[in-house]
């Protein structure tokens, strides 16, 4: 009895702490997403956690100018609405910038011989005994309670005018070939390293394991130099898609060969031996037996490589450059972070666009990702 009681208390603590950690880990992303669909005026004055409550905003509008005045019941009157099309409620108003909240709605305020009145729905009337003159309307300061507003405008804006749409296409252009090419190359090499006997095999395997941890930074300068030379030779410049595909292929290859070799070496040898006895060539064995059987490992690596290439910033900046038509999503986001640092509606929407594809891949194919991680490091 005692143990079960103690057990249930412990279980409760465990549920609570896991819940706490999960919230801690998801809140940053949730905040980003919620902010990205909020109205940009609300986003800049209140935290995203208040997104569902009404927000109070201090605003200023200029009333219609005197050309709109009409003669009604012996007085000159200008009528209009402060809130425009948006809904919300005016709670206080004022006629000077020093006292923007001086008056309650409905109050009649005198200003330079004019009577100004503002109502909760934003309607105002300015009236005077004499005909009003001047070119500009009066400024009216008011505090309004604006109900929560959600909108996709931020996304519309970043996709069109901030160039996110173009970058999205660029990212796809970089990522898909940079994922497929290394798989092909690595799968053949992995089969040879696992099941074919040739001198230098052990050395090659050790080499792959060693290259697994070589920092990317070692390659940048020498490759940039070589790319400059090659680009000059062909007259195409050093920043090309082919260049970055091959660079990502090179950087992803050690992991690809390592993962696939481990997997292929673990396939039952009898199948391969019996196929050899039947006179199948290594190419046939690879194509008809190994490839279909290693699908899980191929999928694992494909997901890794896809996430890595899509999320990469360094390789793209060095080998594809920062010019407008080549900028990938991560590069674009970095540029926006510099140029639009305070415009959170732009940044949050852009960030969400850059992470949405990897998130879909992640949640859709998590099984393979986990399997790949386990194969890649525990073994």
């Amino acid at each position: 009895m005692v143990t079960s009681k103690k057990g249930s208390a412990l279980t409760l603590v465990m549920h609570a702490s896991v819940l706490f950690l999960v919230i801690l880990w998801t809140i940053p992303t949730a905040g980003l997403f919620i902010s990205s669909i909020r109205d940009k005026d609300q986003l800049s004055v209140s935290g995203w956690w208040t997104a569902l409550s009404t927000s109070e905003q201090r605003l200023v509008e200029r009333a219609l100018d005197p050309t709109h005045q009409q003669f009604e019941e012996g007085r000159w009157v200008i009528k209009g609405n402060l809130m425009g099309n948006s809904d919300g409620e005016v709670v206080r108003f004022g006629v000077s910038s020093l006292q923007p909240e001086a008056h309650a709605v409905g109050e009649v305020v005198d200003r330079k011989g004019k009577q100004i009145q503002v109502f909760a729905n934003g309607d105002y009337t300015i009236s005077s005994d004499e005909e009003m003159s001047g070119r500009r309307g009066d400024r009216i300061f008011f505090t309004a309670e604006i109900p929560p507003r959600f909108t996709l405008d931020n996304y519309r804006e970043v996709l069109s005018s901030e160039g996110l749409g173009q970058s999205f296409i660029n990212s796809l252009t970089v990522t898909i070939p940079a994922t497929i090419i290394p798989i092909l190359i690595a799968a053949f090499a992995a089969y040879a390293l696992a099941w074919m006997k040739f001198p230098g095999r052990a050395l090659l395997i050790a080499g792959v394991v060693g290259l697994l941890v070589v920092p990317l930074q070692m390659s940048l300068i020498p490759l940039l130099k070589t790319y400059n030379l090659v680009g000059e030779f062909f007259g195409v410049g050093s920043k090309t898609y082919v260049g970055i595909w091959l660079a990502h292929t090179g950087f992803g290859l050690p992991l690809a060969v390592y993962l696939l070799r481990n997997y292929i070496a673990g396939l039952p040898g009898e199948i391969i031996e019996s196929a050899r006895v039947d006179g199948a060539s290594d190419f046939d064995i690879f194509r008809k037996i190994i490839l279909p059987l290693s699908f899980p490992a191929l999928a694992s690596f494909a997901i890794f490589q896809f996430l890595w290439v899509w999320n990469d910033l360094l390789v793209a900046m060095v080998f594809l450059g920062n010019n407008e038509e080549h900028l990938v999503l991560t590069g674009r986001l970095r540029e926006l972070l510099g140029s639009r640092g305070g415009n959170w509606e732009i940044l949050t929407a852009s960030a969400f666009i850059t992470i949405i594809v990897p998130l879909c891949v992640f949640f859709g194919l998590q099984r393979y990702l986990v399997r790949g991680l386990l194969a890649g490091s525990v073994k």
């Binding site: 465990m14 702490s17 896991v18 950690l21 999960v22 880990w25 905040g31 980003l32 800049s44 004055v45 935290g47 660029n170 796809l172 252009t173 070939p177 497929i180 092909l184 190359i185 053949f188 089969y191 074919m196 006997k197 040739f198 050790a206 394991v209 060693g210 697994l212 941890v213 920092p215 930074q217 070692m218 390659s219 940048l220 300068i221 020498p222 940039l224 130099k225 082919v242 660079a247 292929t249 090179g250 950087f251 290859l253 060539s281 190419f283 899509w310 999320n311 910033l313 991560t330 972070l337 959170w344 940044l347 990897p358 998130l359 992640f362 990702l369 991680l373 386990l374 490091s377 525990v378």
Partner: protein, 336 residues
């Protein structure tokens, strides 16, 4: 749309070229040294030759790419570190001298060491704790999935997410950054977190820990499940409590896996770049080696010699892990 179409075409061409190489080279080999319809003696000889060549057709592209993109650059970087700005004139050890005399280098090195200590430790610790807890509750898989999620987010995306959390408004304006809002809520003074020297490093590290904990959790969770039930049951019978079981039975059993997780994150940390670039670009005392190297690669037209020297430092820090990895892999292969 035009770009996507042409990209698709190049993409398909590239993949086809790759496939064509493997198919074509194998067909060529079979044609040169046919294994059928020839006198038995010749077939045996042909097969022997073909079998000697074929492995190299299979590994050839991989070896070429690895050599060009990873092996040769390591050597070239080493050579470049003895050369000047453009990588042409030999300058001896002067890049190394510059490095050892540069305050910025000591700052980056110190920060990298801080990252090395804090991030792998924190990520492994959280990963282990979460793994051991989620394995015992019914919604554990959902919890794991959510904690694992930041793995899929790019460093730069994560930087935007966290920069938003650390956002700072001066004066009485309402804080829209979560951290400052909390601080104000509890009666504190809002801070511009990422500009506070020294401590700002830790605010950047939080981002990487947030990303990497899921990785540690997934691997450690698999290892924990691999511990035989009998071991735990025996400990329970002997009267061990939960904490004792965790630290005295479970942790020692998965020590090897913890080491693997630790080193994997360590290597990642050594290369940390995007986060620092996006959050501070090395200002306010947050410089790290990888960002400093990137800086020198392009600063004022680029200084390849100095950039290469910093790359060498990163490489030297990785070498012990590399040696350990190779030894481990070799031992495994002998055991197979």
């Amino acid at each position: 749309m035009g770009q996507l179409a042409s990209a698709l075409v190049t993409m398909i061409l590239g993949v086809l070229a790759c496939a064509a190489y493997f198919y074509g080279s194998n067909a060529l080999l079979d044609w040169l040294f046919p294994g059928k319809n020839r006198p038995a003696e010749q077939i045996a000889r042909n097969l022997r030759i073909a079998n000697r060549i074929r492995p190299w057709l299979f590994v050839g592209p991989a070896v070429l790419v690895l050599t060009f993109y990873l092996f040769y650059p390591v050597i070239d970087s080493f050579i470049l570190s003895f050369h000047g700005r453009t990588g042409e004139e030999f300058v001896g050890l002067s890049n190394y001298q510059w490095l050892l005399g540069s305050d910025e280098f000591y700052e980056s090195f110190r920060n990298n060491m801080l990252w090395l200590i804090v991030v792998p430790t924190a990520a492994t610790f959280f990963g282990l704790v979460i793994a051991s807890m989620t394995d015992r509750i019914w919604w554990g898989n959902i919890a794991k999935s959510l904690i694992f999620m930041p793995m899929a987010i790019s460093f730069i995306g994560a930087s935007v997410i966290w920069k938003f959390i650390y956002d700072y408004r001066s004066g009485d304006d309402p804080q829209i950054g979560l951290l400052n809002a909390l601080v104000v809520f509890f009666g504190g003074e809002p801070q511009a977190w990422i500009t506070i020297p020294f401590w700002n490093n830790f605010f950047l590290m939080v981002i990487l820990v947030w990303i990497q904990t899921g990785f540690a959790m997934v691997i450690l969770s698999a290892a924990l499940r691999g511990i035989p039930d009998e071991t735990i049951e025996a400990a329970v019978l002997d009267g061990a409590n939960g904490v004792q079981i965790f630290f005295k039975i479970m942790v020692p059993q998965i020590w090897g896996t913890i080491a693997v997780v630790w080193t994997t994150i360590t290597i990642l940390v050594l290369k940390v770049f995007d986060i620092v670039l996006a959050m501070t670009n090395g200002q306010w005392g947050t410089q790290v080696l990888a960002n400093q190297m990137f800086d020198w690669m392009f600063r004022g037209g680029g200084d390849f010699g100095r950039g290469a020297v910093i790359a060498i430092v990163i490489m030297v820090l990785v070498v012990p892990i590399m040696v350990w990895n190779i030894k481990r892999a070799n031992a495994e292969m002998e055991g197979r």
